[in-house]
């Protein structure tokens, strides 16, 4: 079980309010990702749920019980930290076993669970090493091992992959997703990387300055962002925004079109521009196009190889079904 409800939760440090009162519901077994730019309060929100920070007002309920004043150890949650936070003086076995020792489980059960976790995470042969003798990925797996042996109500991940290199990150991302499939335990995952959010989440919570901008499934956020911020934050490369006459044509203050919803052509199209930087990846080609009347270059994605380069004239046609319209406040116009 791991049903978490935040009711009017607020956090201030002195006079500074980091998280204005907010409500959030996390269903049992859900993989929820908190995403947002750095300093948006996503880690603070996670630490409030963990109990590592006290809420200034409001209540946190875990599985129906008011846990607002319950110490972290008693909340039945497990956390994986960005820095792994392994105990450097203990072997991998002792690290993983630590929560079980604290819970005073009998020795045989401790051993059984540690062996099981080690087998799941491919750590069996490293059990007698110390964290200092492991690679970054292995350390991360030990941190996850320490979390799963407790069989917690929910896992909390605080940017767990940001210290790993790109290749390892992709691998660990898959491992965590698989773990979730297998355990079906609630997971709350904090990241600033929207690709991680899109690929792993059942539900994404987009935060900015402590305020929840939108909650929804990855594709909901992609298809119908509630405002300009979410539209620009979700999706990679980010959405292009146009103002002025182009927007007025659609009865909006601003319109947004994703790079993948613009068709480039060397000869004909709705908008005309000139190729600035072109990125040829083989599988995709990206053009950064300078268009008259646009302050920012427009990004265009085309599948496969396209033979257009720096300085070439380019014509672009936005897909009419994928033009997002926003009003003066930046809110979506339905």
């Amino acid at each position: 079980m791991g049903h978490i409800v935040l009711d009017n939760v607020k956090k201030s440090f002195g006079d500074i309010t980091v998280i204005p009162p907010l409500d959030l519901q996390i269903e049992d077994g859900e993989f929820v990702v908190f995403v947002g730019p750095s300093g948006c309060g996503k880690s603070t929100l996670l630490r409030l749920i963990a109990g590592l920070e006290d809420v200034s007002s409001g209540t946190i309920r875990i599985d129906g019980q008011d846990s607002t004043a319950v110490p972290p150890a008693k909340r039945g949650l497990a956390m994986v930290f960005q820095s792994y936070a392994l105990y450097p003086h203990m072997t991998v076995r002792k690290n993983i076993c630590f929560p079980l020792r604290m819970a005073k489980l009998d020795k045989a059960e401790q051993d059984r669970r540690v062996e099981q976790a080690a087998a799941v995470l491919n750590l069996t042969e490293y059990l007698d090493r110390r964290p200092g003798q492991l690679s970054g990925g292995q350390r991360q797996r030990v941190a996850i091992g320490r979390a799963i042996v407790r069989e917690p109500a929910a896992f909390l991940f605080d940017e767990p992959l940001s210290n790993l290199d790109a290749a390892l990150r992709v691998g660990m991302r898959l491992e965590i997703s698989e773990l979730h499939e297998r355990l079906k335990t609630t997971m709350i995952y904090v990241t600033h990387d929207q690709v991680e959010a899109m690929t792993m989440a059942d539900k994404i919570v987009v935060l900015q300055a402590g305020i929840i901008e939108q909650v929804g499934s990855p594709l909901e956020l992609y298809r119908t962002p509630r405002n300009r911020f979410v539209a620009g934050f979700i999706g990679s490369p980010k959405m292009n925004f146009l103002e002025g006459p182009e927007a007025a044509k659609h009865d909006a203050r601003t319109i947004g079109v994703r790079p993948e919803h613009i068709t480039p052509s060397p000869s004909e199209g709705v908008w005309k521009g000139r190729v600035g930087v072109s990125e040829h990846l083989g599988s995709d080609t990206f053009f950064h196009v300078h268009m008259e009347g646009c302050a920012e270059p427009i990004t265009v994605r085309s599948g496969g190889e396209v033979d257009m380069h720096h300085g070439d004239a380019i014509y672009m046609t936005p897909d009419p079904g994928h033009i997002h319209r926003f009003d003066g406040e930046g809110l979506r116009i339905a």
Binding site: A50, A73, F98, M102, A103
Partner: protein, 276 residues
């Protein structure tokens, strides 16, 4: 770019360093040499350096006249127990200041250190009276209490510095793993701080061992440690340099040997935080 140092420069630096080292060490060396001289040679003019009749007579006399082992034992008990009690008191104090600091933490730390700036003699009279009242005068218990209290600021400061180097996330992880405050300190913080705690213990043991002001003023025949043992040889009936030197050598030998074997730990302790 690495700075280039010429061979001559290196030799010169080495010579200067040795010169200063010997100058500092000379009084100790002289004490040790004098302890092997006769009383006449000890006050000879011009002084004799190495070429004299080496004798162990002073050591025999000193051992005969006073019970060295009793003083030694008192030193061990007073320095050892006061340091250990100090550590037990200081670990939680340093923990709270390092990991849950308040607005006043810095002030508290400075205030604690400021007690070391008070001349000890300023507190002698009240403490002496308290000791008479409580029957602690010339007892090891009394000295353990005083030593512990006067060294506590240093112990807390040193531990605080070590604890500050331990990432808070690890303690938070322990909290998430279900550790109570007590197990967090016993199973996670203390083992991680072992090198720091070891050098703190060592330094404070040495400080307590060498402390003379309080031991001389608060002890008499019963609980005097080695500092009192040395002082008992500077008697008003005339100074016996050779015997005084023998007593001094016997008093400093244990701590000198301890210091020699734990050099590495001590240097780390004294320079901790300066170089990572």
């Amino acid at each position: 770019m690495a700075r280039t140092v010429t061979t001559q420069r290196k030799s010169l630096n080495t010579a200067i360093a040795w010169g200063i080292g010997l100058l500092i060490f000379f009084p100790v060396l002289w004490t040790i040499l004098t302890s092997f001289k006769t009383e006449a040679e000890a006050i000879a003019d011009p002084p004799v350096f190495l070429f004299f009749d080496w004798t162990l007579e002073n050591y025999a006399v000193v051992q005969e006249r006073s019970d060295y082992m009793r003083f030694l034992w008192n030193s061990v008990i007073i320095a050892g127990v006061s340091t250990l009690v100090g550590i037990v008191v200081a670990v939680p104090a340093a923990w709270s200041m390092a990991f849950v600091p308040s607005k006043r933490t810095k002030d508290v730390l400075l205030w604690m250190l400021s007690t070391k700036m008070l001349p000890a003699v300023g507190a002698l009279y009240p403490i002496y009276l308290i000791f008479i009242e409580l029957g602690l005068l010339d007892t090891r218990t009394g000295l353990v209490i005083v030593m512990m209290l006067i060294n506590l600021p240093i112990i807390v400061w040193m531990l605080y510095t070590y604890f500050r180097e331990i990432p808070g996330e690890i303690l938070e992880a322990a909290r998430m793993d279900g550790a109570t405050l007590r197990s967090e300190i016993i199973h996670v913080l203390t083992p991680m701080a072992v090198p720091g705690i070891a050098s703190t213990i060592l330094l404070n043991f040495i400080l307590a061992w060498n402390e003379a002001f309080w031991t001389l003023n608060l002890t008499a025949a019963q609980s005097g440690p080695l500092t009192a043992f040395i002082a008992s040889y500077s008697s008003p009936e005339g100074l016996f340099y050779a015997k005084l030197s023998a007593a001094s050598t016997m008093a400093i030998a244990p701590i000198l040997i301890l210091g020699w074997f734990s050099q590495k730990q001590l240097v780390r302790g004294l320079t901790f935080g300066a170089v990572k």
